[in-house]
Each structure stands twice: as C-alpha cells, then as structure tokens.
Symmetry: C2
Subunit: 242 residues, 2 copies
C-alpha cells in the first residue's frame, strides 16, 4: 500500500495527498490516510509541512503550476481577446478535469482571507488583458477587467462542477464567457458598446496609453490619476466646443 518506496518521504507525501484528493470524490481526506499511503508516520508530515493545510497548499502549488502551464501553453494568436477566450476555456476544463483540486484551490473561500492562488490567477489574466489594452481593444482597465472576468469564470466553473456530470452544459460557460469579454472589449464584432454607451474611443485610447506606459516600465499613472485623467478626457470628448 506504500507509494514508490524509494522516493523521499516529502515527495511521497505530496503524491499521496494529491492522489487521495483526486480520488476522494468529495469526501474529506484525513492525514492518516495520507501518511499510510505514503508509508510514513504522522510526525513526518508535520515536520515537512507544518500543517495539514500546509501540505494541501503544497499540493495546490503543484496543481497551480499545471494550471499556469495550461494557460500559457498556446502560442499567442495575435488576437489577445481570442487568447482570453482560450484562457477561460482552459480554466473551466482544468476545473472539470480535477474538480477536487480545483475546489481546494478556488472553492475554499473564507471571509477576508483570499487564497493566494486567486491573486495569481488574476495577475495571469491581467497580463493577457494588458496586451488587449495596448492594442486599444479594452473598454476598462485591465485589472478591473481581469477581476470581473475571473470572478465570472470561477462562478461558472463552480456551478458546472456542482452539476451532475451528465447534465453539464458547456453552453453556460461559452455564453457567460462571451458576455464578459464583449463587455470589456472596445470593438465588438457587431458595433456599439455596452452599458453606458457613451464610452468613446478616447477612453479606449487613454486605457491603451496607460497600458503601454505600464508595459514600457516607465512612470505610469496611479489609479486615481488615471481616473482624473479619464474624467478630463470624457469632459473634453463630450463638451459642446470639443
């Protein structure tokens, strides 16, 4: 029942935890199950990982590597928004392929304590959205867009995981995905802009400018400065004289 007898105990613990987590079918996984499968006794676990949560965090870190690899492993298509779509789909697929791991990563929410993984995922998406912003394809700041899209992405994935596998309808995902991307994009395939339809191309240009500044590592506008900047631009673009 022990796992790969010759690996170091730390690795065996990691693998055992990952395997049990993946096959637990939602049931909680005990430290005793893990240590037994790893062929190790309890203090070894706590020596290496401090906590049960510490061990799980380590498993999650490995899972996150896999997730990030999936998010990066397609060549940039040159159309950043298309890449965002693929990121979304990859996110959902990762969640459905490894629901237990996904739930540990994204479903273990506690008030006022955000899992580090969420911040990382946001950064990943923001990075991609920055390219869209530089290309003048974004309606809002990349950070806000990333947060919004990721929130919807997580929500959809959780819903799909919660559903019986036979009833899962990926249309929920694609529909929500396109809605979110359309909402943040400056140039929809159809024509007009969403929501407050007054958002002019000046705003888009300003966001693109800020993103470009950020990409060039030069001094950039603070969020409050950008807000004021946008306000001025908006006033100019809608003034009778302008």
């Amino acid at each position: 029942m022990s796992l790969d007898g010759q690996l170091p105990p730390k690795m065996r613990l990691l693998r055992a935890a990952a395997e049990l987590l993946a096959n637990s079918g939602g049931a909680p996984v005990s430290t005793r199950q893990i240590t037994q499968l790893a062929g190790v006794t309890a203090p070894t676990l706590y020596h290496h990982f401090g906590d049960k949560e510490g061990l799980f965090d380590a498993v999650v870190a490995a899972g996150f590597e896999e997730y990030v690899a999936g998010e990066r492993d397609f060549a940039p298509s040159g159309q950043p928004l298309e890449d965002i779509r693929r990121m979304w789909d990859n996110h959902v697929q990762f969640g459905l392929n490894q629901p237990e791991l996904y739930l540990v990563m994204f479903g273990n929410i506690r008030p006022e304590s955000r899992p580090a993984i969420v911040a990382d995922a946001e950064a990943l998406m923001e990075e991609m959205l920055n390219k869209a912003a530089v290309a003048g394809q974004l309606n809002v700041q990349p950070r806000e867009a990333a947060r919004s899209i990721l929130a919807a992405n997580v929500g959809v994935t959780l819903m799909l995981i919660a559903e019986p596998a036979s009833e899962r309808n990926l249309e929920l995902s694609t529909m929500t995905r396109d809605a979110m991307i359309f909402a943040v994009s400056a140039e929809p395939a159809g024509g007009a802009a969403p929501g407050d339809a007054g958002k002019s191309s000046v705003v888009v240009a300003a966001i693109a400018l800020n993103a470009a500044l950020q990409a060039s590592h030069s001094d950039q506008l603070s969020s409050s400065e950008l807000k004021l900047f946008l306000e001025w631009l908006h006033r100019i673009s809608t003034s009778p004289a302008g």
Copy 2:
C-alpha cells in the same frame, strides 16, 4: 450561557447554530459549541436534525427565507431587467452582510452534488427573467439566462467576500452585473446586439412566444423542440427569399 430558556429546544438549537455561524469568523463550528449554547445535550440535536449537516441545512433554509424575502420585497418596477439588477445587488448585499451563512449556502460546493439552494435561487431568477422574456426583452431562454447570471453573481459575491473588507470595490459587482444583463437582453440601451450579432428580432419574438406559452400554462415547447423551432426561424429569417 444558555439561550432564551423558555423556547423549545429545537428553536434554541437553530438560533444557537445561526448565531455561532454568524460570529465564527470563518472558523468551523462544532456541535458541542452549539449544544452548549443552546443548553441542550448532543442526542437532542441528532433527534431533531439527524445530522450536523441537517441542522445547518435548517439554518440555511431560514437564511434562504430571508434571502427570498429580500429578492421579492420590492415592487416590480415594470422593467423586468431593472428588477434583475436589484436582485443581483440584493444577492451581493446578502452575501456581504452574512458571509458565513452565504458560504454555507453557496460556497459549500461538492462535485456532482448541487446544493438545493442553488436550484431555488435559479428558479427565482428564472421567474423574473420570464417576465422580461414575455416582454420581448430577452435574447436567450430565461433558464439559460438565469443560470448564467446566477453563476456570475455567485462568483462575484464569493470574490468580494474573500477580499479584505477595506478593499472591497463594488464596481466589480456593477460592472459584471451590467455585462451579464446586457448580454442576455434583446434591446441594449446603445443599439446592436452582442456576440453573434446576427440574432434577429425573430429569435427574440420566438423566445417571448415560448415564455408566454409557459406563463399561460398551456402546452409549451420542449427545449429540443424550441431549438429546432429557432433553427427554422433562423433559416427563414436569413434565407434569400425571406
């Protein structure tokens, strides 16, 4: 330390569980804490609720009543989509006001076992969206729209709960909300339709027709029938002769 000595033990257990849950700050709540605060011993709990989860479900049911009351307690504005916005905001506010309860209700996801509460919330939103559909304001079937909007709504609320209270930015909510509502609505304030911009008013009319049939309690189209129906309509509306 006991709670309202004269209420029946069942009620005392419910109140004790609710109170501990609300003030636990995310820490797990034990049955011993609950029974002690309720001034009752363990078997009483299991006699009335069977399970710890059974007790929590009962607490959730009470919380859900409150939630539903919030969702219904504003007069229909005559603009269903505006009511959907209020439902969304009420949902988020409920989550932020009672994060622990919310997490038990919507955050306790397990693979392939969807909390009953989610289905109820979906039904609630679908009901409202039906009015929009009858009014010809919907781009997709009410059920799909409800699922999509609710998924995003839950995702956003979970994100906001996970954030430190000081950093919470409700713009994330309003932005995502408007994006989702815009995506499912037939007549955006601006002009064109989202995504596949080819969706004609014929589709909207068909959805409105189906919703009206459903509301009138007469025989309605099955989802597969509707799909075929829509396909025909689409073919007609895009045919050279039409």
